[in-house]
Amino acid sequence: MTEATQPIQRRAIALVSGGLDSMLAVKVMQEQGIEVEGVNFFTGFCVEGHTHAIRKKDKDKDKRNNALWVAEQLGIKMHIIDISEEYKDVVLNPKHGYGANLNPCLDCKIFMVNQATLMINKAREFAGDRGFDFIVTGEVIGQRPKSQRKETMPIISQESGADDRLLRPLCAKNLPATLPEREGWVNRDELFDFSGRNRKPQMALAKHFGLDDFAQPAGGCCFLTDESYSNKLADLWKARNERRYELDDIMLLKVGRHLRPKPHYKLIISREEGENRFLEGYRYMFTSITTVSCPGPLALVDGNFENEEELQQAAAIVARYSKGRVQDEVTLEIRQADGVARQVTVKPALPDDVPVAWNVG
C-alpha cells in the first residue's frame, strides 16, 4: 500500500460520564481501531464525589473521579469542561420539559452533544485529518425514561447539530446507519442492539472486555434526578420569587439539614464535622450561627431575620441540634457576613417546636 492510500486514522470524541455504558461505548470503538478522546462536562449538579468529599464519615471511602478513572482504564485522554454557567439555561428553560423531578434530561443530552459537536467542528477546522470525525455516546434506547427513548434519539441528533455524526455503539443496530457506519469507518455488524432497562447485555459485554470494576450510579450521576434535591431547588426559587441560581447555591443544596421556619429565611445546619468545615467557607457570604457554651453545628442563614424574635427562634433551633439540646440554656454566637457578631442565650427548641413541614427536601 502506498503512502497516498494509507487509510486515515478516524478519531472520535466520546461523552464519558464515568458509568458503564459510556465506558463500553468507547471500548467498542477502540476494538474497531477508532482513536477516542473523552469529554466530561461539569454542570454543577454532578453527584461525583461531592458528598463524599464533604462528609467526614465518608472520608475513608474511595473518592476517585469516575470519568478520570474510566479514561485511565481505557487509555484515553479526557477533557473535563466546566459548563456550569451555560448550563443554567438548560435547567431553567428546558424546551422539552423536566422528567420526574427537575431533571431536564433530554435538553441536557442535546446540550452536551451540541458542545461536543462544537468541539469536533473546531478541531476539524484547526487540525484537519487530526481532528475528530464523529461523536460517541453510551446511550441505549429505553434506558432512561426522559431522554433515552426511540423517539428522542433523532431529536438529540438533529437539535444538537451532530446529525449523522452521532454514533451510539450500544444501540446502533436499532437506529438508521450513521455517517461513520455508511463510510465504513466502523463496521455496523460489530455494533450492538441493546434496548430497555435490562442491564444484563451491558454486564455480559463488560465481562467480555474483562471490565469488572465500574461505577453504577442508580439514578444517573446528576442531583437533579433526586427528588429531595429537586425539592430544595424548587424551594429556593419560590423563596426568591424568581427562577435563578448561582453555583454556590446549588453546592449548598448538597450539604446539611435545610429547614425553612419562615418564607424569608432558611437554615442550613451541618450534620457532622466535614459539613461544618465546608459551611465554614461560606460564613463570609451569610449570617451564621454557632454554639458557644457546648459543641454544636454550624448553621448558615439564607435570608434575613425580620425581627429579634426570629433570630431567637433560629438560635433555639440550632441549639436543638447541639450537644446542649437537653440543657436549660445554650449560648450561641450570631455572626453577620461582615464579621460583626453578638451572643444570645436561648432555651433549645423541643422536637415539637421544629415541625416536619419546615424540612426542605
Partner: protein, 88 residues
C-alpha cells in the same frame, strides 16, 4: 528534589473550597497556559484531589513530583509534560 528540576519557577494554583471536579478542571486549564517542564503546585481542600489530580496527570502525561497534606489542605506538585493539553 526541586533544585534539580529544569525550571526554578513553581507556579501556584489555589483551588481551596472547590470540590471535585473543579480542582482538576482548574489544573487542566492552568496547565494549558504553561510550558513543558514548568512546575505547578495545586492547593486544595478537597481530599479527593489527591486521587484525581495525579490520575489526570497520568492520563495526560504530566509528572507528579510530590503530594501531601497540611492540616485540612492537600497539595500536588506536578511537572508539565510534552503536551500541555491545549485542544487546538
Amino acid at each position: 528534589m526541586w533544585g534539580d528540576d529544569m525550571s526554578d519557577v513553581i507556579h501556584e494554583l489555589d483551588t481551596r473550597r472547590l470540590l471535585c471536579p473543579m480542582p482538576v478542571i482548574k489544573t487542566q486549564n492552568k496547565v494549558r497556559t504553561l510550558q513543558t517542564g514548568d512546575q505547578l503546585r495545586v492547593i486544595s481542600t478537597d481530599p479527593g484531589s489527591l486521587n484525581d489530580i495525579p490520575a489526570w496527570c497520568r492520563i495526560n502525561g504530566h509528572e507528579v513530583l510530590e503530594t501531601g497534606e497540611q492540616g485540612h489542605e492537600v497539595y500536588v506538585l506536578l511537572r508539565v509534560g510534552e503536551d500541555n493539553g491545549a485542544l487546538f
